[in-house]
């Protein structure tokens, strides 16, 4: 009996090249071949995206005592795609105090997704 191979298509989001990735799977969604990537990251992305899609998230949180009302932040690691909106909603009321340095953790592992929320801009305290 011949084995059924199905192909899933993805666009790589690793860099702006946007390579068109193809993931061939056999029975029980076992990956048999990945094509279309131009780098190692692309191949890894295709495998990851097929099994467990994840995204990095960038947003802002409230800032008290700084020159601006908002502080830009990001996740320290990619989180499951399906939980992105929940994560953002959970962080909507968060307010942190200036000063803040780049890389400072402003929320540790919210929703237990395995990523911290870290500041991406230095903010001095203003009186």
């Amino acid at each position: 009996m011949t084995q059924t191979v199905s192909t899933a298509n993805y666009l790589c989001i690793g860099c702006p090249m946007g390579c068109r990735l193809e993931v061939d799977t056999a029975e029980e969604d076992r990956i048999v071949e990945i094509r279309g990537f131009s780098c190692k990251r692309g191949k890894e992305y295709a495998a990851q995206e097929h099994v467990d899609p994840r995204r990095n998230v960038a947003l802002t949180v409230g800032l008290r005592g700084g020159a601006l009302p908002r502080l830009p932040v990001k996740t320290s690691a990619a989180v499951p795609k399906a939980r992105v909106l929940a994560l953002c909603a959970a962080l909507r009321d968060l307010v942190v105090d200036a000063p803040v340095r780049v890389g400072q953790v402003v929320a540790a592992n919210p929703l237990g997704l395995g990523a911290d929320i870290v500041a991406t801009r230095e903010m001095r305290a203003v009186d």
Binding site: P69, A89, A90, L91, R92, D93
Partner: protein, 485 residues
């Protein structure tokens, strides 16, 4: 009932403002009611800004007489109030032999009215003076008396001068009811009730509705839309005079207008609409304007459009002005003021003052009447030396708020001090936001300054009052809008 006011003016367009300013010369209690957030924000704002030469309208009509009379009053008004006014002249062009008798007729009509300086130019003269016009033009009628103003600026200055001389100006105040008892009018508004001996109906598109509220004879107003297209300042100087095509019996046609600031504007269309709020522009209107203009100004293209807008002329039956008393005592119409209404406005104001005098209103001149307004700073037209001195003295002139029109923070703050409460209020007083980026850069800055100066939350700043909000508070985690801090 408190002592009634002498006069309530309904409508703060250029006509209402000119009347208010003229009345402020006298010891009177006058209130001007405007439903929009600023004066001039109805039909006047979208006016072409031409002070017509004086020869276009039929001298047998009301407007025909007021056109030339009004034209001659603008120099003094501009000198007193400090708004921009330039007599740049106009050309009415002939593209074929058939147009020549029409121009002759205009020339004779103008001369009969006493319009000065009218002159027929041959093709060579037209080419020498306006080299970017079509070589197909065979002759043109030149009128040196034609000028340009920024119509909204004229409204602001007239109203501000009147306020400095005692006018009670109430914006965002619409009239809901009018009733007459014992020779006193009761005026119900969205912001309280007033009493007055005279009510002047200068409500433009809504003057028919106001006449109906007053129980005056029916007055039908037919909104007639005009679309205008403002072109990039790269075309400044491309054409130096107002250019009229040869007029048809129904319309003055679609023009090229070098605005007071030098930016070229093309339009307007003229189409009657039903809805007095319909200020939409259309692809058909744009096509009509550019097709018409390219016949005589081939260097103008839709690619250069930086802004488009439409205005509605308040045309009455018969297309003439409707000015005068009604059978309701003390209720006076100043309606149907379409082109050349801006030109005529100062003359209309004088005529209304005469009418009120005849009706028994005592006009005692105010000894403290100040005809002048302090001139606003226009930073970029100062010499470098003067700019250095001003910025040294006043730190408000050390920040650029609008990068397209080069407007400083000091000028924005001055506009707010003079009554701007909205983004459009700032835009039409200073030009911030009128340039090629259309507010992309300055809007957030102006919103911050408005919020700070008016002491309101940033998200309460509007484009032009009412429901024209610009931004809303962010949502909380349970999806509600965050409260103001």
């Amino acid at each position: 009932m408190p002592e009634p006011l002498d006069v309530v003016i309904i409508g703060g367009g250029v006509v209402g403002c000119a009347i208010a300013r003229e009345l402020s010369r006298y010891r009177l209690r006058v209130c001007l009611l405007e439903k929009e957030c600023d004066v001039g924000f109805g039909t006047s704002k979208a006016n072409s800004g031409i002070i017509h030469g004086g020869h276009h309208s039929d001298p047998r009509s009301v407007k025909g007489g007021l056109e030339w009379e009004g034209n001659q009053l603008w120099d003094a008004l501009a000198a007193d109030l400090g708004f921009g006014f330039k007599r740049i002249g106009e050309l009415t062009i002939a593209l074929g032999e058939a147009d020549l008798p029409v121009l002759e007729n205009l020339l004779n009509r103008g001369r009969a009215k006493g319009v000065t300086g009218l002159e027929m130019w041959p093709a060579e003269r037209v080419r020498a003076e306006e080299p970017n016009l079509s070589p197909d033009i065979i002759a043109a009628l030149h009128a040196p008396t034609t000028g340009v103003v920024n119509p909204y600026e004229a409204c602001f200055c007239l109203a501000e001068s009147a306020v400095r001389n005692g006018l009670d100006l109430r914006t965002e105040t619409a009239v809901l009811g009018l009733s007459l008892a014992d020779d006193v009018w009761t005026v119900e508004t969205t912001r309280g009730t007033l009493h007055a001996r005279f009510v002047l109906n200068a409500a433009g598109l809504f003057s028919g509705a106001i006449a109906a509220l007053a129980g005056a004879p029916a007055l039908a107003i037919h909104p007639r839309k005009g679309e205008e297209y403002l072109l990039d300042k790269r075309l400044q100087g491309h054409i130096g005079r107002v250019i009229f095509p040869c007029p048809s019996p129904v319309s003055k046609g679609i023009l090229v207008i070098p605005t007071y600031d030098g930016t070229l504007m093309v339009g307007p269309t003229a189409h009657t609409v039903d809805n007095p709020f319909d200020l939409s522009t259309s692809a058909a209107g744009s096509d009509e304007v550019f097709a018409a203009v390219q016949r005589f100004a081939p260097g103008i293209s839709p690619r250069d459009v930086i802004a488009q807008f439409a205005g509605l002329r308040a045309a009455a039956d018969g297309d003439d002005f409707v000015i005068g008393l009604t059978d309701r005592k003390g209720f006076i119409n100043i309606a149907g003021i379409q082109s050349p209404g801006l030109t005529a406005a100062p003359a209309i104001a004088q005529r209304i003052v005469g009418l009120l005098r005849n009706e028994g209103l005592a006009l005692t001149p105010r000894d403290d009447f100040d005809p002048r307004l302090p001139a606003p700073v226009h930073f970029m037209s100062l010499s470098t030396g003067a700019q250095i001195d001003l910025a040294e003295r006043d730190p408000r002139y050390r920040r650029m708020s609008c990068r397209c029109e080069f407007i400083t923070e000091g000028e924005i703050l001055d506009a707010i001090g003079r009554g701007a409460k909205t983004l459009d209020g700032i835009k039409f007083r200073t030009r911030a936001g009128m340039g090629r980026c259309q507010g992309g850069f300055c809007a957030a800055r102006c919103m911050e300054l408005l919020a700070r100066e008016l002491d309101i939350p940033f998200t309460d700043v509007t484009k032009r009052g009412g429901g024209s909000w610009m931004a809303i508070p962010r949502l909380t985690s349970i999806g509600q809008e965050a409260s103001h801090d």
